[in-house]
């Protein structure tokens, strides 16, 4: 399991991988927050609950990252650890996740660039029995 920042001239992409979709979604979120803060400096002091549904896994990924950006602004929090479950339900794909973090501290968290949005650009979700990969481009 890991995240990777993908090269692009104007913006950047983020890719999360792992043994299953849940891990890949969590890693993509870590990748996105790694652009904004030094993850190792962010303590998991507070937890936000996130529940989402979407028609497709691609839509679920964009919604997941978008929701974390919204919570960052609304609550003033940044996150470093994520715990995710992804299941297919009757109304499409569902995600239940927890994001762990703390209020942004510019002195400790080494702020980077603010991510404006997760986009459908380059969005890809791949999943086999023992490996999953999710990615999309972020607007900075």
């Amino acid at each position: 399991m890991a995240y990777e920042i993908l090269e692009h001239t104007a913006d950047v992409g983020v890719r999360g991988t792992g043994p299953d979709l849940a891990t890949a979604f969590a890693e993509a979120a870590r990748g996105m927050f790694s652009l904004m803060v030094a993850l190792e400096a962010v303590a998991p002091m507070r937890t936000m609950q996130v529940d989402l549904t979407a028609d497709s896994l691609e839509g679920l990924l964009v919604a997941w990252l978008g929701e974390l950006l919204a919570q960052k602004d609304i609550e003033g929090l940044v996150f470093s650890r994520f715990c995710v479950a992804v299941v297919q339900g009757e109304r499409g794909w569902m995600l239940r996740g927890q994001a762990h973090g703390e209020p942004l501290d510019v002195h400790r968290h080494q702020p980077g660039v603010e991510v404006k949005a997760a986009t459908y650009y380059g969005v890809r979700v791949e999943c086999t029995n023992d490996h999953a990969m999710v990615q999309c481009v972020l607007d900075l």
């Binding site: 950047v12 950006l69 510019v106 702020p111 404006k116 949005a117 459908y120 900075l140």
Partner: protein, 482 residues
């Protein structure tokens, strides 16, 4: 992908397949070469393919246009302009993007470089301390839900009404700082909640606050109308609608995807989802965008006030002597009247990473600028020149009165970080006499001057094509980054 050369600065992407109009790209061969390489190399994300995709949208008029600073965007290319018939055309989310009405306000001070130069460091510190910027920064104007709704309806007028600025600021703001058809009900509660702390904050990334010196005037008549001269100090504020705009984008990406399916508009790429202008969905999106536009106007208005508060006492100036030269956005969609094939038509013009550049005579321009056209601000990088341009008659007839907006990146952020170190960049800039203050050390390397294209090449193409005209060249003395 083949382009047909029309002249040194104009190229046509011929109409093929599902394209309803041709593509037209106003750039030099040097600027186009990397784009053609990307397109021919089959790169998934390439700007010329985006020009083609926009040309396929229903109701597009004349051409899918790209300005000289074209590079890949989301849906539309950055530097993309698309005008649509208001009766049978569409409004597309990708033509506006996530940072609605991101733009530039320039303040003209009565100060000269001689006065400011020796006190640059102090000035940089005061601006850095006085204007909230960077990740997680909070604005000085605290708002409730009702307060946010007021901002969305009144735009910069709200801020001026609260004492952030003077009425003359509105006169020199595009739309006088307020779009009339904004509807806060079209904006989600989440979008408003995200904005509570962010009104009057600069943001991060390529957003900046810059103290500049006018070093060259190329158009005396326009410069006289704008009231600028060589040696004068200006302050440029580059920012947008912050989190509110970002959330409107995310929300309507979903809504317009449903609308595209409902009205059977083929989705060529997800970020190019759209709705007929006359449909309820299209109207709702336009009302939300207008609200986002107003939020950005209010933002820049508050920041302008904070800049005055930082500078005026330092030089014993009355704050209102620092006047708004102009405030104009570069991520917008607007109803405008234009001549097309000898007939005046009402169009919905999308400009994504393109500044409106209305030329001489347009009634929308503030009276003092009417004879010459309003100023268009083109940002360079931390280490290079920026330019003030104006619209032209040719720009009105060829590109619906549009201009370029910046240099555009040449290197990715990661590559920039690997190439330069923040401290070294700061030292180099200090060596050139530029005081930089930044909230993010990482950001400095990512925004290093070398990571951007040569702004002079972009300017050469924009003015060589006759779409925009050069008025003045300015260089940075102080730069504050988010």
């Amino acid at each position: 992908m083949e382009l047909r050369k029309l002249d040194d600065f104009a190229w046509e992407l011929p109409k093929t397949g599902d394209m309803r109009v041709p593509g037209r790209i106003f750039a030099s061969e040097d600027l186009l070469r990397p784009l053609l390489d990307e397109a021919r190399g089959g790169q998934e994300w390439n700007a010329l393919e985006q020009v083609r995709n926009v040309a396929c949208l229903p109701g597009i008029v004349k051409a899918s246009i790209a300005m000289a600073d074209i590079h890949p965007g989301y849906g539309f290319p950055i530097g993309g302009v698309g005008a649509f018939d208001v009766h049978d055309g569409v409004v597309a989310m990708g033509g506006v993007g996530f940072d609605i009405n991101c733009g530039v306000r320039v303040l003209a001070t009565p100060l000269s470089a001689k006065e400011v130069g020796p006190r640059k460091e102090e000035l940089a510190d005061r601006l850095f301390g006085g204007v909230p910027a960077g990740l997680g920064s909070e604005g000085k104007l605290r708002l409730s839900v009702e307060g946010i709704d007021d901002v969305l309806v009144k735009g910069a007028r709200y801020a001026v009404g609260k004492g952030f600025g003077v009425p003359d600021d509105l006169r020199f703001t595009e739309e006088e700082g307020c779009m009339a058809d904004a509807d806060p009900a079209a904006v989600s509660v989440k979008a408003k909640q995200r904005q509570f702390r962010q009104v009057g904050t600069l943001g991060s990334g390529n957003h900046y606050l810059e103290v500049q010196e006018v070093v060259e005037i190329m158009d005396r008549a326009a410069a006289a109308a704008y009231g600028i001269e060589v040696g004068q100090i200006l302050v440029a504020i580059h920012c947008g609608s912050r989190a509110l705009g970002h959330q409107i984008g995310q929300d309507y990406l979903q809504e317009l995807e449903r609308a595209s399916r409902k009205y059977a508009i083929p989705i060529r790429e997800r970020e190019l989802v759209c709705a007929p202008i006359r449909s309820p969905e299209g109207q709702r999106y336009l009302s939300a965008v207008a609200a986002g536009v107003n939020c950005a106007f209010a933002n820049r208005q508050v920041i302008a006030h904070l800049v005055r508060e930082a500078i005026a006492p330092m030089f014993s100036l009355a704050p209102e002597r620092i006047r708004t030269l102009y405030d104009v956005g570069h991520n917008n969609v607007k109803r405008e009247r234009h001549q097309v094939d000898g007939r005046e038509r009402e169009l919905l013009v999308h400009r994504k990473g393109s500044t409106r550049a209305f030329g001489p005579g347009r009634p929308e321009n503030p009276e003092p600028y009417r004879a010459v056209g309003h100023p268009v601000f083109v940002g360079g990088t931390m280490g290079t020149a920026s330019y003030i341009l104006r619209g032209t008659e040719r720009g009105m007839s060829e590109v619906f009165g549009s201009g370029i907006h910046g240099a555009g990146r040449a290197l990715s952020r990661s590559k920039a970080k690997r190439t330069w170190h923040g401290d070294k960049v700061l030292k180099d800039l200090a060596g050139k006499g530029i005081e930089v203050r930044a909230h993010s050390a990482r950001g400095i390397a990512e925004e290093a001057p070398g990571a951007y294209k040569d702004v002079d090449l972009v300017i050469q193409a924009a003015t060589g094509s006759g779409l925009n005209a050069l008025v003045a060249r300015v260089v940075p003395l102080v730069c504050v980054k988010g």
